[in-house]
Every structure is written in C-alpha cells, then in structure tokens.
C-alpha cells in the first residue's frame, strides 16, 4: 500500500467556486497509485467542497446564487454574527455541501465523469487563505 499526501494552499478572492481538479490530477499522477482513492478535505468551516459541472460557468453561478437565497445574509434571528453578515451563512452553506470528498482512482487516474470538476466553495466575502488536504492511498 502506498500513501501520498499534500496540503494545497488556495488564496481565494471572495465568494465563489475555485477549481482544484488540476492540482488533484497532478498529485494522483505523482503518487504512482493505480487503484485506490484520493480523499479531499477542507480544513475550514466557512468554505467547503462540491463536485460540480465543469463546462458551463453559468451552472456554478446559479448554484452560488441558490445558496445566497437559501441562506440569506442578514437573517434576523442569527445570533453568531460577530464576524459579519457573511459569517453564519458561511457555516450553514458549508454544512449543506461537503467537507470531505473521496474519489476512486482507477488505472492511475481519478474516476471523474466527463463533466465533473472538484471545486473549493468559498463562502466568505473577503479573500482568504484556505488549506485543502489531499491524501492518496492505494496500490
């Protein structure tokens, strides 16, 4: 069994989705693992992961807008508001998407579908420095 891990530093410029697929593809290739998994994990509670359509950016913008409306900033009954109006919505949007995602590796490559990309979903307005752990394991 081989393991191979890396911590990716991603600098976000505010809310939105940021494509991690290229970094993960390179790591899996470098690991030499032919059959196994890559675990992707975000070390934050106001940013998350989503595997989403990678072709039409409109699809991601609609997804982002949906979360703006489902969990609105300025919701009157929020009590955890010390870090601003985007603080509590960020935690909830994170909880509604994913902190970890596990992608199988087959024949040395991630078994993603044609239209799947792995994205960091930044929920805070301000630029942030985010850390994503990727752990490859297999044979």
């Amino acid at each position: 069994m081989k393991t191979c891990s890396e911590i990716f530093d991603v600098r976000t410029s505010g809310k939105g989705t940021y494509d991690l697929t290229g970094k993960l593809t390179a790591l899996v290739s470098r690991s030499g693992v032919r059959e196994g998994t890559v675990t992707v994990f975000v070390k934050h509670t106001s940013a998350s992961l989503v595997i989403m359509e990678n072709a039409d950016p409109d699809a991601r913008r609609d997804l982002e807008e949906f979360f703006e409306r489902l969990v609105p900033e300025g919701t009157s009954w929020f009590t955890h508001t010390c870090e601003g109006v985007d603080d509590m919505p960020s935690h909830i949007r994170m909880a509604l998407t994913r902190t970890s995602e596990v992608i199988p590796i087959l024949q040395g490559e991630m078994a993603l579908g044609t239209w799947q990309g792995v994205f960091l979903f930044e929920h805070r307005r301000a630029p942030h420095h985010r850390q994503i752990v990727a752990m490859v394991s297999g044979v």
Copy 2:
C-alpha cells in the same frame, strides 16, 4: 492490502431513488475484505447518492418531494437552462446530497444500520444511463 473495484451501470427511468445496496453487498463479499471501506462514487453532476431509510417507500417519496419544492423547476432567475427546466435543479439537488459516500466494512460486511440502504438519486426527468464506481479496500 486488497483493493477490488467495479463500475455499476444503472439505467434510470426518470426521477427517483434506486437501491444500490444489493450490488454493493455482493461486491464486498466477493472482495474478500474483512476490515476496510467501500467508497461509492457517482460519475455525474445531475444524479447523486443518499443513504436513506429502506423500509417505508413513503419516506423516500417525501424526501424526493422535499427537493422538488426546495429547488423548483422553472425558477425564474436560473440562467443555465439549455437542457430544460430540470437541468439546473438537478445540479443543485446533487450538491445538496452526496457524490461520494464511504461505508466501513467490519467482519466482511458493510456496517450499515438495520434501516439504511444506499440509493442513487436520479434528478433528471428522462431515463439516463448512470455509472457508479465502487472501490473496496482493506485487509
């Protein structure tokens, strides 16, 4: 360490939940793994996974209806609509559920609770051919 993988082809007949538990049970048994995990992964962005109550089909119908109402077809502000009214809702419903799920294996069997089944959640109206990757690894 052993790994054992399979790609399941599932033909859906439109929206709804499709039970994958039997196929996964058979694969885990065939793998010979006594302690480890099985990673289940959907290679699509308009279908997803959910581990749900397997006893009363009403529970799954209520779940499906909830998503119909939370992310309605024909939402006026969607811009990604090229593939029809069920296109963008499918992506959002996928993002709100799961693309990957990892189930521990204990004593040679998936450690599912009594009432847990693993379901493919098809979000498109039209029949689709879906691929699910299952990767068993362990000892």
Copy 3:
C-alpha cells in the same frame, strides 16, 4: 497497512449536536497510523454528521435552528408520519448533511483545522442510542 476500528455508542438527550472529536482523536492515537484516513459513519437515517465550528456554541445553535426552519415539523404534505412530527424532518435533515465523513491523518493526527470539530447531529426529539463506526486505515 494497518486498520483499526471502533463502534462508539452515543446516548443523545434529544435534538442537538454532540462532539465526537475527543473519541476520534483517541482512536487515531491508539491505532498507531501516521498517514492515512479515518472514516466516520453514522448507522442511522435520523441522525447525521457535520464538521462544524467548535468554538462558539451559538454557531451550532443557529445551524440547528436553520434546519428547524428549512424542514419544519408538521409540514402538511408529509406522508411518512407514523413515528411523529419529527420523523420525516429527521430523515431530510440527515440527507442534507452527511452520513460519512473522511478525515485525513497526517503525522499521526487528524488533519482538522483549528476550529473544526466532528459532531453527531441528532434530529429526533426523544433520547436515542446512536452507533458511530470509526475506521482508521493507513501506514
């Protein structure tokens, strides 16, 4: 490759979030695994997992309140109501959060961020006895 598993029994006193982080930290330490993953899995369909802010309890209360409002008890069109008004909302809130979560292990410790805790999210009103499977694997 080493594997090390444990089933945690958690007695809940009704709705809310229950911190599992300490139990998981101890298991990972005991396993001797330096690099790998720990898979956490809830064996129930009316309780779930969420990795959430561990500092301010207000953040968790707001999260819980959000789910109370998003999936209200007593929703008129629910048909799966045999176990009470909190039955179907529990399943839906579970589906909107997570059944499994996979956390990388680096240098013998879970690679959680500073503010991340792993919580059981109990959705039923009555006290329940819940089982969580944790499976460590790695080198």
